[in-house]
Point group: C2
Chain length 427, copies 2
């Protein structure tokens, strides 16, 4: 019956368009690289976006204690409701109510990681069957694209401006909006840029959104992960008349990415999100919510982790960032961009200085082959000519990695040929 032909003996099981269009852009790029490390050098992976992987960064004792307490009290083994337990949603509301923002528990939807939050936000707003599109940053975290494209939603990349603190190129954003634009995704602090936007820039972004009546999905997973002297400003704090979906979670600031606890906060200052709210609740029922042990621990995690834990983390990150910035700054042919937050640093590869390599992909492959040091090529984030390094490695490793980078670049650096002046004949 499967086909019009007589019953076939062959199985033919095609996969859905959704599955076919669900691509992992980092994987696709990395898997196509020739990544054989130098057998004589231990690999240093400056590529891994998991801050816990080197063991130097560990969650606060309050965090793990709270989890253990939750297991022991035995009250959080059952279903938590698809949007999360009231107490946990309350904890998020309280945690995010600062700088004049007032979040209510009913504005919070808990998800299975921030990725899941982004999934719900993109899915609720953007409709592939209506030919809609969303705008995402370039360079940017590729999951926005993975999520959108698998749902048949077109992705349009807007430029970030490297020389202006990776701010949004607002003209470019505006030029990419049309009647089918369902949302603008912004990411602050940024992966991969490490940039932290000023209040002024965010106001400009919000004005653009308001003018064009496009809701914003704000990926604030690195919320308050900013270096001393910088200030994190949530788009929610600026009182703009723009409906916002703010995504966040425990992964980064609390150093527990594997615990898969994310959230969406619905901000609806213009009363435009009634259907969206309902839609998010419905979508959350597809997987019946997130882990209840983590939820049970959230009040303590979010509200009782001492400020000193956060301060120490940021101090560690900036020390490592400073080392990288200083050392890479000395390397001819590379240009580091000092981050103000998050966990990453962008480094420009001045391609004209490395004529041996056709592109950044060849550069990072050869770097791995010779120096056993791996940096994610900017291509993984949609922007060639750069690489992203993580600043969550132990300091000694960063020092070592910078030495290797220097070695490598010194070996391949070719100064631009001097412009030879035509001989001047002296009479």
């Amino acid at each position: 019956k499967k086909t019009a032909d007589p019953v076939s003996d062959k199985w033919d099981v095609p996969i859905s368009t959704t599955a076919k269009n669900c691509r992992n852009y980092i994987r696709e790029i990395v898997d196509n690289l020739n990544l054989e490390p130098n057998p004589n050098k231990k690999v240093i992976a400056l590529s891994i976006g998991d801050p816990t992987v080197y063991g130097n960064l560990v969650p606060a004792k309050e965090t793990t204690d709270a989890l253990i307490e939750t297991v022991l009290n035995g009250k959080h083994n059952g279903y938590g409701g698809s949007c999360g337990l009231d107490c946990s949603r309350n904890a998020v509301a309280e945690y995010l109510s600062y700088d004049g923002v007032e979040v209510q528990a009913e504005d919070v939807i808990l998800c299975s990681g921030c990725s899941s939050s982004l999934d719900l936000c993109i899915t609720v707003l953007a409709d592939g069957t209506r030919g809609q599109n969303i705008l995402v940053p370039k360079p940017g975290f590729p999951i926005y694209r993975t999520l959108a494209e698998s749902m048949g939603v077109e992705v349009r990349h807007y430029d970030l401006l490297p020389e202006e603190n990776w701010e949004l190129d607002l003209d470019d954003v505006e030029s990419k909006i049309d009647s089918k634009t369902a949302a603008i995704v912004i990411n602050n602090p940024s992966n991969p840029c490490g940039s932290v936007y000023s209040e002024e820039h965010l106001r400009n972004v919000l004005r653009l959104a308001e003018r064009n009546k496009i809701p914003i999905i704000a990926d604030e997973i690195y919320e308050r992960l900013v270096f001393p002297g910088n200030k994190f400003v949530s788009v929610a704090s600026l009182g703009a008349k723009v409906p916002l979906l703010i995504c966040g979670g425990l992964a980064k600031r609390f150093l527990v990415p594997g615990w898969r606890l994310g959230w969406i906060v619905v901000h609806d200052p213009v009363g435009a999100f009634a259907a969206v709210r309902k839609g998010l609740v419905c979508l959350s029922q597809r997987i019946i919510g997130s882990n209840t042990l983590v939820q049970g621990a959230m009040t303590k995690i979010l509200l009782e982790t001492p400020q000193s834990f956060h301060d120490e983390l940021m101090n560690t990150l900036i020390e490592t960032a400073n080392i990288a910035y200083e050392e890479i700054g000395k390397i001819r042919g590379l240009k580091p961009f000092m981050p103000q937050g998050a966990m990453y640093m962008m480094v420009q590869i001045k391609s004209e200085c490395f004529p041996q390599f056709n592109d950044g992909l060849e550069f990072v492959s050869k770097l791995m082959e010779e120096e056993s040091t791996f940096c994610l090529p900017g291509e993984a984030f949609g922007l060639g000519g750069y690489m992203r390094i993580i600043i969550t490695v132990p300091k000694e490793l960063m020092v070592e990695a910078c030495e290797r980078l220097a070695n490598f670049c010194n070996k391949y650096y070719k100064p631009k040929p001097c412009q030879l002046l035509p001989p001047v004949s002296i009479e």
Copy 2:
């Protein structure tokens, strides 16, 4: 720019078709009931599918100990990979390798609960944009429909046969297959029926699938949750030449539904699932895997929970089921169906005996109003004239609930009017 009109002052934020089509059928039915309990009686909810909610059923000490150990060793805070940690996939493979089934770790994909497993399976196989459909049981767990319809996939219900242990009506199944049928979902042991299928019946189902070349999604979340004297047979154990996606998880047998740990096992005896395997991996990346603390504990949970824990659970469940079956069996107008496993019992409401009520919905509402006892109407599972009761309540509560049911039915029961014979005149 959002509309062709001059820049509008109004926000108009429609939601996607996916969100609009994502419906919670249990909610929709329950929310439309008038459910005011009798203020003089404590509510007994025989409706809640969470076995932990009454506190009488708790996870094994091995389970909670393993979780605590995982938190303490501090090795499972980072990302686990979107398909899960190798050790955890291995544990599932070993746990499910019995009755001749041999599962390899690479056949296992961990998900955020069995719901998430079902989501991935339906999404990878069925393509709404190609007008495909899936077949699901009636009565059945409504999440299949929620998941499929939100992806634009048509759902066709096949009948289960109440009088034949709720087996699939194979003729009905076959009549609903056409060239657009992407998968048949079966659920054994069954929610809401509590039925456990014989090997013979499953072989017939597999033969049907093979003849029609339709892959099976087998929801085996109640795997091995069968009463003494019954045997759980996995479709994977029958050596059929049918590609299978088996869904399961920790939720039920280990009494930790809130921990959100599900799995998919890919069985591909005919080599038809290469693309499906890849597609599942890609889809798993949308939310970057499930909670790593639970994953870290899985080896112990799955492989070291003593058989006595499982036996005790089943003994408790059958005792409660026996009480319900016996007591409800005595109530005029009701007909209980004895389950062989899972956590539920179906009860037929003989509508002709309760002419006061137009349907089962009115029956359960009135039962709540007068007796503060709530049973899920069969309508929530697609089948009117029945109600589903859970057998996971403490025994005393079941006794009390049965008394209330008896009260209620005695009050409203109307024997069918006797067929009065015409008077026979005696000459």
